[in-house]
Symmetry: D2
């Protein structure tokens, strides 16, 4: 397939590369052009602007946040104006439910198709084409995109016909991770204050409760109090939990643990930890305990 690809951060660059490897023809665009040119060697065409990445029938966006996506879509020379009627926007970024709804409506009015397909997995999983894709939108359209998803990930889940449901699921996943970090933070503060060795405690948790890599990665960081460099910045974690709460508010679903974690992350950012790994909220918990 011929695909435009906008957004070449850690995740996006790896995804675009895997699309090329799988034989798709990819036109890439990135605001910082050097990142796009790095992909030229792999066989990508480099677009000079968003418009040039919108000549094909399918364009993927994989950008940092709501603002970046809105900037790429709305306005003169941007996606909504440049995509042809019938063309498809696949939004793979972690964005808000509200923006996803707005995109669905805007594309519909413009005679364009839109599906949301955010991904689960860290940069290494993206590099290994082992992402999990959570897609929502028109079923036939999603099926048509399956070759693209297969090039990027190991499995695609379809959660419904409303695109923003995929974004909701993605945000809820990040909420769940954040809540486990908070709980680990509390448990480690408890056992550390009693004088138990955090590494032994980590072994116990790994054996008894969960060998799940994502959780244990964070438990390890907390056991070692190793919050730099950030794998996922606290400021970004705050953003995602905020978006989960915004979606919950719109649906009238009280989520007290999400509120609590939001307040904790907000405290972290207020105290200058915004660029630390979000697991550094465990450091705040330890300090509360006088450790």
């Amino acid at each position: 397939m011929n695909v435009g690809f906008i957004g070449l951060g850690h995740m996006g660059a790896a995804m675009a590369q895997n699309l090329i490897k799988a034989g798709h023809r990819v036109v890439v665009f990135n605001r910082t052009r050097s990142k796009a040119e790095a992909l030229a060697a792999a066989g990508a065409s480099v677009a000079a602007d968003v418009a040039e990445a919108c000549r094909d029938d399918v364009v993927i966006t994989m950008l940092a946040d709501d603002d970046a996506v809105a900037e790429a879509v709305f306005g003169e020379g941007k996606m909504l104006a440049e995509l042809s009627r019938g063309a498809l926007h696949i939004s793979m970024s972690t964005i808000s439910v509200a923006l996803s709804d707005r995109l669905a409506e805007a594309h519909r009015k413009a005679g364009q198709a839109y599906i949301a397909a955010p991904v689960f997995g860290r940069p290494e999983a993206a590099a290994a084409a082992k992402l999990f894709i959570v897609a929502a939108g028109d079923e036939a359209t999603i099926q048509r995109c399956q070759p693209l998803f297969d090039a990027i990930g190991q499995k695609t889940f379809v959660v419904g016909a409303k695109p923003s449901d995929a974004n909701l699921v993605k945000l809820s996943g990040n909420f769940l991770i954040s809540s486990v970090i908070e709980s680990f933070g509390e448990a480690f503060a408890l056992i550390r204050k009693a004088g138990v060795d955090p590494r032994i405690y980590l072994d116990i948790l790994t054996s008894t409760l969960s060998s799940a890599q994502i959780y244990m990665t964070y438990a390890g960081l907390i056991a070692d109090e190793k919050y730099e460099p950030a794998g996922f910045k606290m400021s970004l974690g705050l953003k995602d939990v905020r978006l989960a709460l915004a979606a919950a508010d719109a649906l009238a679903v009280p989520m007290p643990v999400a509120s609590l974690v939001r307040d904790r992350l907000l405290a972290g950012v207020a105290q200058g930890r915004g660029d630390s790994d979000w697991s550094s909220l465990a450091g705040l918990i330890a300090r509360d305990a006088g450790l």
Copy 2:
């Protein structure tokens, strides 16, 4: 080894049986005598009272709660009075840090040895001798008990010289499980209210976040809203989170998620769900959301 074994519930009966299988000579006692007699066929001697189970040099207790342990230990004809000097009490029940400290002190004064060795694992793991044992106390004493632990579990962790540290670790583990249930409850309420299929969501969580059996068992119960029959009663879950908070209070460690889960479990018990599975707190969350 010759061992007394007091407390033959689901967990204790399986553990005693595995001790016998491994070649140890076991004298069992249970308040409801029929449960003890069920083990006679497997080769156990049945004690008529606590005192009779205290003739050997090692006695294991595996009882429901603090009250049951205190009743077996303190008072005329009970463990403290009947164990000989130099004999060892291995407390494997999930009890409070405070009671464990009290037991340590009482046995010390009586010239008896005491270690705490609570277990992680459900009845099936107990039956399969696949428990994880978290032990604390005098190191040489723990080493001496290793043949017993090997008969019961797949691995023993030693967390320190203070027996109650093992109880603290055990309680913190149950707190972690309870916090995951709460977070799952919130996440499922969110996606259900949006209209996403809970079974698809469960598949996504299992693939992307955690294949950890213990967590996914609870996610499955929540997805299916299947809170009866109870695998672990809400009233018992409340008890354990209470004990974790009591230990945290004594150590001056604020644990806000534990407080939140405690309040949720308390609400469940107040509303008559004490005998439902503790994952039924997700039902309270769903109702809060108007589902």
Copy 3:
């Protein structure tokens, strides 16, 4: 002074009337025209549209929420377009800090003046010209408005040069009230479950803790479980606590009690209590306690 007045709900109508009584010439506008005409007898001129209420040098808005204010200000024929250069907009509604900042910027660009002056007090206080006015913005401008404030209220507080600071103070006040309602709800659930008479308890609170009318009004509603008709709707309470939290989020100030109350109010709205008095959150607390 010659004043335009937009928004004639319970509060606005009383305030406009008091301006007239004090000798000011007032041109009133309300979307539902009948409410404006009710004031004609008192001496008000009735404007046919927003534009007609913007002929004078000072225009007051006293509207229900952000949307209503934004609708009155932005767009063709609305305040921003119709006010002359140098004219002043006094925003007395309870609106968000973000909208107030946006209004300040928009009026500045249009060469118009803007101050925020939200009020504390219920409709009866508005009728009696006993409101408290919290004003922020250019100091000379606020001084110039003092005759208007004197006609409406018993006291004016100036909190700074940035208009939205007045809105922040107003929102924080509503948060404080909401938090007292929550705490009363918890305390009443506690003593009711113990069997103590709520009316005796109310007497004790009134004597010992607070004779403050606003608090005791709510304690009385909770003691009597009298949540209908609403003095202040739960849905409006939710809106205000949400705005307080949004402002806190922007300033990076964690407010866990505000989060907790927000979640409680959200639960109330989710369960169909949006039109009840916001003190009916005490009913949710009582139900949690199994009462």
Copy 4:
């Protein structure tokens, strides 16, 4: 009346003095004897031990906490043993519901009478005989004590026949104060971070929300960040909120704000603020906000 009085702290000494002033004959006992002797000049007889203060038909205890009361009551030569049959113990200390129940039962078995009558009011109110007394227990017995209460306080509330209900009401009152401190702490952090003058904000709160002295005293301390010397120590505040939560737990009443405040106070104590005024929890909130 002839009265024994045990416990001569700030509150107790003032209360005993007022009893003497009103013409009652008072035998006082205090562990630190010098405090008892200070009252001899006022006309008190000084008892050498608890037993000597138990010769009369009525003995009042006004002690620091559960431990102090238990020590005065149980054991050889203490109240339970020394009071004659038919004598009355009036417990005016702020103690737990559980201990009050235990006292009621123990005195009943000993053929002695027991009522609980904790007080609201600070040392100045005690000195001025302006306390509020919340009494519970046998109605005729309470009526018989009215002359004593009249000498000490300005009003007596009778909340029921079960003595510990009075303790519950007292504890709920201290919870309410603590929750107001927490909410004020959050509100002040918010407006301070926005740059609003805390003293102006305090004026606004006093005018608009509450002139209640107890609340405004705390708001003033928070506005001035003046947490030393302590009017009421954080460690004592923690103790009382803990007792309120213990009572709530026993009644199965979830009190999430109480849990939150407990965690905050625990953090304060863990960080070495136990001897500061409990309003210093506002300092923790401010620090969380990066102030």
